[in-house]
């Protein structure tokens, strides 16, 4: 086929290798920064059956790095939008979009339909679920993860090799490790790591020696430094996973578990405190009863100043910092917290309205 002629010219691929690619079935979990390049190159390479699972919608802030999407895809489900673009790139392959979240109820049946799983997710909960489901279904996982300018890459569970848990046995409990406040990322970084994931997938399919199993590849886009770290298999841990039902890791995520409340409802409550986590001196200032200001930057050191017996309505300017504050509060057993919709500006407007 003309489309694959540059592949077929390679001794390592040839007609036979291209047939292997056509017979491969790959599931890509997450169609974001990492998933986009993985999907593009695997589609172009002619992977026979390609699954895409993602329940997220395309947002404008994605377009800086998630190059499968354009302005016309804003608001669409990522799996479906990706499928549409990819079908134009290569109509001869089967592309399956699952516009849902990977969960303990669908992971096993979905993994069984594919030979190779690609981890391109953006949260720990799904990363551990992918790992455990892949161990149970004996599927290799091509792992990629990024942080600002740095990337990690490895192939787990390949030919009985180490798994993600052999590297990081348990998800982090500390919120700071979790991608909560919106963390920046250089747009090209996921493209580099994602393209390398696509490369590992093709190496597995073609049986090329040197699959990145038992090694963590660390890349720094600023310095172009590369480190290879060896990972040893933790048999005990893998056997534990094999012998228990799939379970959901409870990892505090940025938006889950955070209850929102409108200004109107919040003002009707009694026995509450309005906790303002903006920095001192930020406008607009608020004058009201049951009000306390502790900037997010000093919240951890000042938890003893908060009354644990009342409901806490947390506010900031836009609702982002207050989410982070709620995480800190929940981790310190202040369980009755709400995030104030609209933050200080909305609260001030309602107070003025009520005063009239």
């Amino acid at each position: 086929m003309e489309r694959y002629s540059r592949h077929i010219l390679l001794n390592e691929v040839g007609q036979k290798g291209q047939e292997k690619i056509s017979n491969a079935r790959v599931l890509v979990v997450g169609a974001g920064g990492l998933g986009c390049p993985v999907l593009q190159y695997l589609t172009a390479a002619g992977v026979g059956e390609l699954g895409i699972i993602d329940d997220d919608l395309v947002e404008e802030s994605n377009l800086q790095r998630q190059v499968l999407y354009g302005t016309s895809s804003l608001g669409l489900n990522k799996a479906k939008a990706a499928k549409k673009r990819l079908e134009d790139l290569n109509p001869s392959i089967g592309i399956h979009a699952y516009s849902e979240k990977l969960s303990i109820s669908n992971a096993i049946s979905l993994f069984e339909k594919y030979n190779i799983i690609v981890d391109g997710t953006d949260n720990f909960e799904t990363r551990y679920l992918i790992n455990d489901a892949a161990i149970l279904t004996k599927r290799p996982v091509v792992y990629g993860a990024i942080y600002k300018f740095e990337g990690q890459l490895s192939v787990f569970n390949y030919k009985d090799g180490p798994s993600y848990r052999c590297l990081f046995p348990e998800p982090p409990k500390n919120t700071e490790a979790i991608n909560c406040s919106q963390v920046g990322v250089l747009g090209v970084l996921p493209a580099i790591i994602g393209s390398m994931q696509a490369n590992e997938v093709l190496k597995i399919i073609l049986g090329i020696k040197g699959v990145l199993s038992g090694k963590l590849y660390c890349y720094d886009a600023k310095t172009s430094n590369v480190h290879h770290i060896k990972i040893t298999k933790n048999e005990l841990l893998i056997n534990e996973i094999k012998n228990r039902p799939l379970k959901k890791e409870v990892v505090f995520s940025c938006t889950a578990n955070i209850r929102e409340i409108t200004v109107e409802k919040a003002l009707k409550k009694s026995n509450v405190i309005f906790l303002d986590v903006r920095e001192m001196g930020e406008e607009p200032t608020l004058e009201m009863d049951n009000y306390q200001q502790i900037p997010l930057s000093t919240l951890s050191e000042n938890l003893n100043k908060i009354d644990a017996e009342v409901e806490i309505i947390v506010l900031c300017q836009s609702g982002e910092r207050s989410k982070n504050a709620i995480q800190i509060l929940i981790q310190n057993n202040f369980n009755n917290c709400h995030n104030l919709k609209g933050g200080a500006p909305a609260l001030l407007a309602q107070l003025k309205h009520n005063a009239v």
Binding site: A145, E176, T223
Partner: protein
């Protein structure tokens, strides 16, 4: 002996360096960790794995290398 300590991700941000030297006689990896945390108390809440000479090790391992790397998990994608 001088040990080269390498920091990745958020750890490099918190220590404001990607690598530094620590003078260490002998002991376990956990002893080196104590020195690191004394120097950078802001790393205490962080969770990471430790690699010695490019191999993930238990902190009970004795220090026999010249390089120790601290690797945090990344969640981003």
């Amino acid at each position: 002996m001088n040990i080269n300590i390498k920091y990745f991700g958020v750890l490099a941000e918190k220590t404001a360096c990607q690598e530094e030297q620590i003078d260490f006689e002998s002991g376990k990896v956990s002893d080196v960790m104590k020195l690191i945390l004394e120097r950078h108390p802001n790393l205490k809440p962080e969770e990471f794995q430790v690699a010695q000479n490019k191999l993930i090790v238990n902190q009970e391992a004795s220090v026999d290398g010249t390089e120790i790397a601290l690797l945090p998990p990344f969640s981003g994608g």
